[in-house]
């Protein structure tokens, strides 16, 4: 058939890259949002200030929409290991299967069940139990991140296993598998990234309300709490990222060489700010360099040795330009986040944080920053480990299912269309929720805790359109 001439491995990779990139946007947001909702509800219970509950009730709706999209795009992932990478599933199943099984057992059920209480349980459980549900959901998102990042990290830095005579991989030490060398770094780096992603969305929405002069008390809570994250957490993320990079240098030096665009092994390697990596020509053209900085960052010595890509045969090098550029994108956004924190601190000290309009506009512009940085970071680490699916053990090309190109190509196109539609609609409804803002004026109507009779609420909504 028509698509059978296309490379099934490449098609499978594009499909997986697409579905997993799409999926990660939602956890990247919900991990942070769940924790923040727990903090908001705790503040509300502790201080009794309604403003926290207003903010909670608005964002929990955004959470529900985002979480729903995360669930359905996540279910797809759990089947794609088998549909698209069946040889990998067969060989690595003994090691990775239990990790994913634990994710379902310890996290997914927890999140799914208590999300129901969180959304629909307002009038059925006590405020303390409701808070407990929020807290449990937040914990569930972190447990889920723990297992899935453990599995991913094991594929980057495999440990605690042996290859059997039948070619299958067998576990020898579970602790070494779960806490494999890159896992602690990747876990912390990702969870902090998720928190920052949420903080910048919240800051953007708070800034938007302040610009419009509406919901000012609620907007102050949003912007203020988000700035705490930007001021204190964004710089710490730089440190965690650096530690993660050093860990990568130790275990996956070819990835770091690609990040740096460095071809020759050298002492006193310069840091390339920009340049055009040329994979075939084995060089990085038009590089703007800072002398010796790369060696200083990576080895903590001015004349430390950094290995270049030419140390590896051509077929074992990752696609350099992808890694090089996405790394710069991630770091660049991280720097802008730190700058935002510095500006926020400066304005706060001058008591101008809630009055400075250009800064609010800046925060609105930074709303998608976290998502871009998370995606860029994942591209660095996933493209950077190619050609391996399990680093040094199994290549991506070996892993692919015995499915011809045509069904893979058609399903890829379908996923793009369906996800485009779904994402478009979800994005639209989230924007609508944000434009509507927290409901603060109306008192509960009747005894059901419903703000307005549904028919009135509907009219009001239609007028708003």
């Amino acid at each position: 058939m028509i698509f059978d001439k296309l490379d099934p491995v490449l098609l499978g990779r594009i499909q997986f890259a697409f579905t997993v990139s799409f999926h990660i946007l939602f956890p990247a947001f919900t991990i942070g949002l769940a924790s923040w909702l727990a903090v908001l509800e705790w503040r509300w219970l502790k201080t009794g200030k309604e403003v926290y509950a207003d903010v909670y009730r608005m964002w929990v709706k955004v959470f529900a929409v985002t979480f729903g999209m995360g669930v359905v795009s996540g279910v797809v992932m759990s089947f794609q290991f088998g549909t698209n990478w069946s040889v990998f599933s067969d060989r690595a199943g003994n090691v990775l299967g239990p990790l994913l099984g634990y994710e379902v057992l310890t996290a997914f059920f927890l999140e799914a069940s208590f999300l129901g209480v969180m959304l629909f349980g307002w009038n059925r459980v006590s405020p303390r139990m409701h808070f407990a549900s929020t807290f449990i959901v937040a914990g569930g998102t972190l447990i889920s991140a723990f297992w899935i990042l453990s599995a991913n990290s094991w594929m980057q830095t495999p440990a605690g296993f042996e290859a059997g005579a039948d070619g299958l991989l067998y576990p020898t030490n579970w602790l070494e598998i779960i806490f494999n060398p890159s896992f602690p770094y990747r876990f912390v780096h990702m969870v902090v990234a998720a928190y920052l992603t949420t903080a910048f969305v919240v800051a953007g929405v708070g800034g938007f309300y302040l610009l419009r002069g509406r919901q000012v008390p609620q907007a102050r809570i949003m912007l203020g709490m988000a700035m705490i994250m930007a001021i204190f957490v964004a710089p710490v993320q730089l440190l965690f990222g650096d530690l993660h990079g050093l860990n990568t240098l130790k275990h996956q030096p070819a990835k770091v060489a690609a990040m740096e665009g460095l071809w020759e092994t050298q002492r006193g390697a310069p840091l390339k700010l920009f340049g055009l990596p040329d994979q075939a020509g084995e060089t990085t053209l038009h590089a703007i360099e800072i002398p010796k900085l790369s060696s200083l960052i990576l080895t903590h010595e001015l004349n430390g040795e950094v290995r270049g890509l030419k140390e590896w045969p051509r077929e074992e090098r990752p696609p350099v330009a992808w890694v090089f550029w996405t790394f710069r994108l991630m770091v660049g956004i991280g720097m802008l986040m730190i700058l935002t924190g510095v500006l926020g601190l400066f304005l706060h000290l001058r008591k101008r944080l809630f009055e400075t309009r250009w800064f609010h506009a800046w925060c609105v512009a930074m709303t998608p920053a976290g998502f871009l940085a998370v995606l860029a970071g994942w591209f660095v680490t996933e493209v950077g480990r190619q050609p391996y699916i399990i680093y040094g053990v199994m290549t991506t090309a070996e892993s692919v299912s015995p499915v011809p190109g045509t069904p893979v190509a058609i399903s890829l196109v379908t996923f793009v269309l369906v996800y485009g539609l779904m994402f478009g609609a979800g994005f639209y409804y989230i924007l609508k929720l944000i434009r509507k803002g927290p409901e603060v004026e109306e008192e509960a109507y009747g005894s059901h805790g419903v703000k307005k009779p549904p028919i009135l609420a509907e009219w009001a909504e239609e007028e708003g359109n």
Binding site: S86, G101, F108, S113, L115, G116, F120
Partner: protein
């Protein structure tokens, strides 16, 4: 490295556990998919709001059993997962797409005003496609899969034939029965009245399809025939189909007597008997007639580690799942709750 394989029959335990997880999925997501199947036929928008609200707190947890079934199969029987997923590539992807449409419809529908109708149909067709594909998967599964070495060796459309289409339709009616009896239990007034008529209507089709599948399974496969129609097996196994018949009759009577709770649980019973019959017929295959559950089993340490987690977590999961059903007990209102 701990390994319980020395004193426990791990593959057998896991065969049973995966079977239970998949069955719980069928029961639990079955009724909320069933609600989706019946959705556009409801008498009014208010009925539809109420139908949606009756399952909104549960659908996410219900669908998690599918992830557990898939994830558990990967963990406990990676070889079966690696053969079956490529073999059923197209229906699995279509099922997932169906689940996407209906899943997002829960959230989007309540936010939408002018486009609410669009999400009503996304919910309906998503539910039907997901159910139909699950039935087709079952129909194709019982007919067996071509295997060479450790991989699937057939074509991309091997799963598509009249028999799998028939089982697909059968499951649509089966889930519709679960959905209708759920609504009889969770609603009142015109919604309940309508749901009761729906249940009575689909019940006859469920009986018909159950009979066709029960007769065709032994006819298509000599092994299954030998299993069911040899003595003394026939006497030992005969109670299963007899139970199905008795349950169908009881549901019929209950629906006409106006009982509210029992039809739902009796419908569960019908699924139990069907599933048992199927399980007995397919024993001990995990990829029918090619790979047994013993051949597909993961290494002892892998199955052991997951067993520890399951023994600790499964009771906890069941407890708080039960808590959620208890919390949202009683009749559902049509008002949006959050």
């Amino acid at each position: 490295m701990f390994n319980f394989a020395t004193f426990l029959d791990l593959p057998l335990i896991w065969y049973a556990l995966i079977g239970v997880a998949l069955f719980l999925y069928v029961l639990l997501d079955g009724f909320d998919l069933g609600v989706g199947i019946l959705f556009p036929f409801a008498p009014s928008d208010q009925c539809r709001d109420r139908m949606m609200n009756s399952i909104a707190p549960f659908w996410d947890g219900n669908e998690t059993w599918l992830v557990l079934g898939g994830g558990g199969l990967f963990a406990a029987f990676p070889l079966a997962y690696a053969i079956l997923m490529p073999a059923f590539y197209i229906p699995v992807i279509l099922m997932l797409l169906g689940l996407i449409f209906r899943g997002v419809a829960f959230e989007f529908r309540f936010k939408a005003v002018r486009s609410r109708r669009v999400w009503d149909y996304a919910f309906h067709f998503g539910s039907i496609v997901a159910t139909f594909m699950q039935g087709m998967l079952l129909g194709a599964f019982v007919q067996g899969v071509k295997v060479d070495g450790r991989s699937f060796a057939g074509g991309p459309f091997d799963w598509l034939n009249a028999y799998s289409v028939m089982v697909g339709m059968a499951l649509v009616f089966g889930y519709a029965l679960l959905g209708a009896t759920w609504l009889v239990m969770k609603t009142d007034g015109i919604t309940q009245e309508w749901a009761r008529r729906c249940a009575a209507y689909v019940l006859s089709y469920v009986g018909l399809f159950l009979a066709i599948v029960s007769i065709s399974m032994p006819m298509m496969n000599p092994g299954v025939r030998a299993l069911w129609f040899s003595l003394p097996n026939l006497y030992l196994l005969l109670p299963i189909p007899l139970c199905s018949v008795a349950l169908l009759i009881l549901i019929w009577r209950d629906l006409h007597k106006g009982k509210e709770y029992r039809p739902f649980f009796l419908s569960f019973g019908v699924f139990v008997t069907g599933y048992l019959g199927l399980g007995i017929s397919l024993w001990p295959w995990l990829v029918p007639f090619q790979v047994t559950f013993r051949q597909a089993a993961a290494a002892g340490p892998s199955q052991s580690l997951l067993l520890v987690g399951t023994l600790v977590m499964l009771p906890v999961v069941l407890t708080y799942t039960g808590y959620c059903y208890y919390l949202f007990r009683g009749k559902t209102s049509h008002e949006a709750a959050y």
